[in-house]
């Protein structure tokens, strides 16, 4: 009975989404405030019913309702409670429901926070969001109903895919989806502004906090996914240019360009068309990501579902969304005019370079991700594109981007007289280069030419990010949350670049077969294989190895890697063991019994990998700090008062 209620709740949510879209888009057309007044209620109702549907699916998992096909396929009586809940979004149908839930959450937040906006604009934003929600609800109900029954019910479920039975999985998809779907808010604001035909900088200012928050969640989501792949999949790295990773990375690159371009549109009224196009393409890439991952087009570790009907539906939806937005853009483009000019060393031109380089980087990733599919579709043969292409091609736009960032942070709007900041720029550069040489030659043996370059760039960015806030504090000037957030996020980027540079150039690894008691040296560490013992878990059995890692003769870590056999799916899983310290990870993954009492082992020493996750976390915190800046809310209220008074022109806040 309950699952049918869940499906019914989804149908009601769909009807309310239709009402939200219709009243939200039609109401402002006739300036009918009663129509527009319906919209917030439709949003609230949709939220309630989406919560209900998700809650019922969670209940079905918690209560082992194996008469529901989705539950039967992704759960098992032996599966612990925590993973039963995480299993709700462990496969296609449930993750779509999660997507819908997150979308209604964002919509609700926009509704609650849009009281300062002109009612017609707010209604249009919610109308566009309603259209998106409709699309996803229709898709789920038509092709991927999570509440579909299974007759006869299974006595026991087929269990959750073992690679997904992990803590990070419980939070990676919700976080990633919050970011993905959050870009729909920027998209909706852009569309509403185009429908309204009021394309001054106001819409950009209203969008900024939402986009920044979405970006922060996207950052965290990607970092969690990378962390999960690192220690759960046991591939022993943090980024593989896997198509599914790329699918989330492309919207991130465009969203990063968007938050910078929005700053220019907000402050200076420039780059208006460009910003609109970025808002459209950012969300389109999120949708494309969904399409790639969920249609089965991609052959990847993540794509658990393969169903052509779904692919066609998402493709049609994708074309409708992108095509519709671009038609809207073409219709309104004549309204876009920028008058102001700017100089080559101004902040505007640095942000222009930022955008160009980020878009090149996104294009590089896009090309490499799509080429295999395109070649396959055109019958040109099956080809694959690996890190050998991605690494150098991605570095090409990113290295100049990082270099320009340090200088750009000192540039002022419009005039941009850099000579005043020359001391700060050159001073930080000299310090960064000295430190970089000390680190590459002192702490690590010089490995590759990119190592001192990357470390120097990272340190330069870190130091430059500190100059502005420290200077303001010293002069006892006020420090807005926006400025703090920006500095923090750039500092986080510096940590990330530092981590990636060192771990990519100074990692030592070795696959080797060892018998108990045998040792092998890896850099300054000695790994000693002690032996194995058998292992018994709630829904798996297996063996646990024991490896002692010695550093200068003393035991630094005892690592216990596992090889698990999950009974239900009869699948083998490697649980890598990691000895973590702030400046390095020791990584051991078990291979298999190779005879004569020996086991094959994968051993790695990964310096500074912690900085990769740490950097991403700091970037996220920076984004959140900037996103909740009260300035945006005050500016929004001030704007509305001004607009009401009949003065459409706006001075920079």
């Amino acid at each position: 009975m309950l699952p049918e209620l869940g499906q019914f709740a989804m149908i009601l949510a769909l009807l309310l989404a239709m009402a939200q879209a219709a009243f939200g888009l039609v109401g402002p057309r006739f300036a009918n405030s009663r129509y527009m007044g319906v919209v917030p209620f439709a949003v609230a109702g949709q939220f309630v019913f989406t919560c209900l549907a998700l809650g019922i699916l969670v209940a079905a998992f918690v209560n082992f309702d194996f008469s529901v096909r989705y539950v039967a396929e992704n759960s098992n009586t032996a599966l612990p409670l925590f993973y039963r809940i995480a299993a709700v979004w462990g496969a296609h149908e449930g993750s779509l429901l999660l997507w819908i839930f997150v979308l209604s959450l964002w919509t609700l937040a926009v509704t609650l926070r849009s009281r300062g906006l002109p009612p017609s604009f707010a209604a249009r934003v919610l109308g566009v969001l309603g259209l998106l929600s409709m699309g996803f609800l229709l898709f789920t109900l038509a092709t991927s109903n999570p509440f579909a029954r299974l007759a006869p019910a299974l006595p026991d479920g087929r269990d959750l895919n073992p690679v997904l039975q992990d803590f990070a999985l419980a939070i990676h998809p919700p976080m990633l989806y919050t970011g993905y779907v959050g870009l729909s808010v920027a998209f909706a604001f852009a569309c509403a502004a185009m429908i309204e035909g009021k394309l001054d900088q106001t819409w950009a200012r209203w969008t900024r906090p939402w986009t920044t928050l979405a970006w922060a969640f996207l950052t965290a989501g990607i970092a969690l996914g990378s962390w999960w792949a690192y220690y759960e999949l046991g591939w022993g790295g943090f980024w593989f240019w896997d198509p599914v990773e790329n699918a989330s990375f492309m919207p991130w690159l465009v969203a990063t360009a968007l938050i910078h371009s929005l700053a220019v549109t907000d402050k200076r009224g420039l780059f208006k068309s460009w910003t609109l196009l970025l808002a459209i393409s950012g969300f389109s890439l999120s949708l494309l990501g969904t399409f790639l991952v969920r249609s089965g087009v991609l052959v990847s570790v993540h794509s658990f579902a393969a169903d052509p009907a779904r692919g066609v539906f998402i493709l049609v939806f994708l074309i409708a969304v992108i095509g519709g937005a671009l038609v809207l853009y073409a219709w309104r483009a004549p309204l876009l005019k920028s008058q102001a000019g700017f100089e080559l060393t101004s902040r505007e031109s640095f942000l222009l370079f930022n955008n160009i380089l980020l878009i090149i980087a996104a294009a590089v990733v896009f090309g490499g991700t799509m080429a295999p599919m395109l070649s396959d579709a055109l019958g040109l043969g099956a080809l694959s594109v690996g890190p050998q292409y991605f690494n150098p091609s991605f570095m090409l736009p990113i290295l100049p981007l990082l270099g320009l960032l340090s200088v750009g942070m000192h540039a002022g709007w419009k005039r941009g007289n850099l000579s005043r900041s020359r001391r700060a720029i050159l001073g930080t550069l000299a310090l960064a280069m000295a430190l970089a040489l000390a680190i590459t030659f002192g702490a690590y043996d010089y490995e590759a030419v990119l190592m001192p370059v990357g470390v120097a760039l990272a340190l330069w960015i870190a130091l430059s990010a500190l100059v502005d806030p420290v200077d303001r504090l010293r002069r006892r000037l006020s420090l807005s949350a926006g400025v703090v957030g920006m500095s923090v996020a750039h500092f986080g980027l510096a940590m990330l670049v530092l981590g990636i540079t060192v771990v990519s150039s100074a990692t030592t690894e070795r696959d080797i077969a060892l018998t108990p008691g045998q040792s092998v040296a890896l850099g300054k560490y000695v790994f000693r294989f002690e032996g194995i013992k058998s292992l018994e878990g709630p829904n798996y059995g297996g063996v646990q190895g024991k490896v002692t890692v010695l550093h200068e003769g003393e035991a630094a870590h005892v690592l216990l890697p596992e090889k698990r056999n999950y009974w239900v799916q009869q699948s083998t899983m490697t649980e890598a063991a990691i000895g973590a310290r702030w400046d390095r990870d020791l990584f051991v993954a078990m291979g298999e019994d190779v005879g004569k009492g020996a086991w094959s082992l994968r051993l790695q020493v990964r310096p500074m990998i912690q900085f990769v996750w740490l950097g991403a976390i700091i970037m996220m915190l920076g984004g959140i700090t900037a996103g909740v800046d009260r300035r945006y809310r005050l500016a929004q209220e001030a704007l509305v008062r001004k607009t009401d008074a009949g003065t459409p022109s706006v001075s920079a806040a």
């Binding site: 052959v299 658990f304 000019g341 100089e343 090149i360 080809l383 694959s384 594109v385 490697t574 094959s600």
Partner: protein
Amino acid sequence: MTPTRRRRLLLVLGIVAGVGIAGALALKAFRDNVTFFFDPSRVVAGEVKPGQRFRLGGMVVVGSKQNTPGTQDWRFAVTDFNSTVQVHYSGVLPDLFKENAGVVTHGRLQPDGVFLADEVLAKHDEKYMPPEVKRSLKPGDSRADVGYVVK
């Protein structure tokens, strides 16, 4: 030409040149590093250029997986049910590597006809068959059903 216009022209030219160079270099990296897929039949037919790095994919032949005891020097055979290629790989095999399951390996063909792999991928469930292999089976071939289940 006013100074503003000249500056703007220079900026645009600079951007176009930068994008062009980046595009050309990316394309070169792409052309140098793209690896093509070959099934065992095409390898046996001699379609692979000597020394070319490529992907070999197919099903692992039942009973072919063996190693020198006490070492991780693996030998196994990959087949598309028409032709078979011997593979040599030294390292840790992935969890999902199994006999009669799909596998994709990266590496080079040696003069003696053995494929020396430096990377072995089996990232899917045990019922997975590489699409290229599935396609090379004739329609209605029951082996395609045995090996592949759409989940």
